[in-house]
């Protein structure tokens, strides 16, 4: 496997604000790197440097072995960019938008048109093909935007918060697209604020905060960082919760918590604990609706790493677009 893109020690300042304070990012070809962080963490700035739109103040980055500053033109031949906000021309129709990109990528007009038609069909936009993009819904614009970044069949695709503002069904669709791009051999850099999204799509995750990588690993490794596993029990008869609590407390030596009505959870350190819980509950004759052992969620990982919640209340705040 070879490295598709690599950034080392990137620093970027805007006036007195340090957007990036020396970050390293890398992805093997054909993988998805998830860059996870709250608003203002520096995700967009990192993407813009890798996409040759910004020059780093310090550090260097390469895509396919080409330097993003010195060989910007070569890098641009390899990449596709989908911004945080759909960057299509509102006055142009779907077909006109995609045909324009095709022509700018040196396709013949006829080829550009057929590529546009192919992508519109793939993204379920054929019916809207001849309408100006300003008449599109948010989800349709996102799809057109993604289609525009795929016209040149890029080897490396940057998706900057591709599902922000999409409803759950549309997110699932977008995830399907990302998976099929990767199956096809593309390398994807995906920035997201959604931990479940990074968990679902990424091979590796870099967690960034205040312009620094604060953790890097596979989703499973990151979950290990938050420590331990959690046992969850939901008895059929809620009246027996008390008995379950006693069993769990005896095995784990901790007080169980109740995250929801009729459910008890307790963290355990020892792999054997789960088997013991199953046996004791069975012996006590308590019927269970749900009994599971789970890794911590990425939300918990983020909380452990930064001491603050990943999904902050300032969802409305927009990351500095620079």
């Amino acid at each position: 496997m070879s490295v598709a893109f690599q950034a080392e020690g990137l620093v970027k300042r805007f006036g007195k604000t340090t957007a990036l304070a020396g970050i390293d990012l890398a992805a093997e070809q054909g993988t998805v790197l998830g860059v996870l962080g709250p608003n203002g963490a520096g995700k967009t700035t990192a993407v813009r440097i890798l996409a040759t739109l910004l020059r780093p103040d310090e550090g260097r980055a390469t895509v396919g072995g080409f330097d993003v500053v010195k060989d910007a033109a070569a890098v641009r031949r390899l990449i596709g960019l989908t911004g945080q906000y759909a960057s299509v021309d509102e006055d142009l129709t779907g077909t006109q938008n995609l045909t324009l990109i095709g022509e700018l990528l040196d396709l013949r007009r006829r080829d550009a048109r057929s590529r546009a038609a192919e992508l519109l069909e793939w993204f379920d936009l054929t019916e809207a093909a001849n309408r100006p993009a300003k008449t599109y819904s948010g989800g349709m614009r996102r799809r057109l935007d993604l289609a525009a970044s795929l016209v040149g069949r890029p080897a490396v695709i940057y998706l900057d918060e591709p599902t922000t503002g999409l409803d759950p069904a549309k997110r699932e669709d977008m995830w399907g697209v990302v998976r099929s791009l990767v199956n096809d051999g593309s390398t994807v850099l995906l920035t997201t604020q959604y931990l479940d999204e990074a968990d679902a799509l990424a091979d590796d995750i870099s967690v960034i905060d205040h312009g620094k990588v604060i953790a890097h690993g596979t989703p499973a490794q990151l979950k290990q960082i938050a420590g331990g596993q959690t046992i969850l029990v939901r008895p059929i008869d809620p009246a027996r919760l008390g008995e379950v609590a006693t069993i769990l407390a005896a095995i784990s030596d901790r007080d169980p918590e109740s995250p929801g009505r009729g459910v008890l959870t307790v963290p355990v350190d020892d792999d054997q604990a789960f088997a013991t819980v199953v046996r004791r509950i069975d012996e006590a004759g308590i019927g269970v609706m749900e009994l599971s052992l789970r890794l911590p969620s990425l939300d918990e990982v983020f909380f452990t790493l930064t001491g603050k919640k990943a999904t902050a209340d300032d969802d409305e705040k927009v990351e500095v677009a620079a």
Partner: protein
Amino acid sequence: MTTTIERDHGAGPNTRTPAGSTLTKGQPPARPFRLVRHSLALARRSLIKTLRTPEQLLDVTLQPVMFVVIFVYLLGGAIQGSQVGYLTFLLPAIMVQSVMFASVATGFSLNTDVKKGVFDRFRSLPIARSAPLIGSVVGDLVRFVVSIVVLLGFGYATGYRIGTDPLHALAACLLVIFFAASITWIFVLLGVIMREPGAVQGTAFLLLFPLTFGTNMMVPTDTLPGWLQAWVRINPVASVMDAARALMNGGPVGDTVTKSLLWSVGIIVVFAPLAVRFYRRRV
């Protein structure tokens, strides 16, 4: 959508080699005249945008008509006694003035456009940095054509007649359009430097007023005070107005055409590279 996403989007002649040691280029080999093709593709984009919102053409259609009405009917009688006589003197110059005013819009709209995501996309594509700027200038040439057609139509209806022949008149129109295109580069530069579209417009008109009104547009040069005559002599806009008058109404062309062409080329040579340079630097 979910039913079709399994399709191989990479099918076709340019499919990547999987897991190779280097990433292969996704695009086909470059065809010649890339800058010209890219600029024209982007010019078509501007043109589509203009045609989709025809109200953008209000300034180039109503403004020249309004100026003719104001000058000819308000001042014409006092200045020359005969309204048709004054119209003949004024119209070629108004043509120059109106396309120059029309050229501000290119810098204005570029200023708003550059901030949008679509320009990020252009910047992430392997095209020359100058292509989007050339595209806007070329795409907006249609505004000049519309302006001239409306003005000549209105002029004809109110009694203006070409004194030479259609070929000379056409040459005058082309000269005026070329000069306006060169002036556009100044406003493109303002468009990429300035933060707000309002600032572009304000600065542009600050430049335009002495350039267009500080000429013999409304009255012959020899009626002006000495210092103003000196300015009119060095003002390139006055040369273009003289050239347009001579080509359309008759009379000695002299060196006015050559001067106008030299000025146009000179302005492009200075301002186009500057605009591209600032655009490249802009984040």
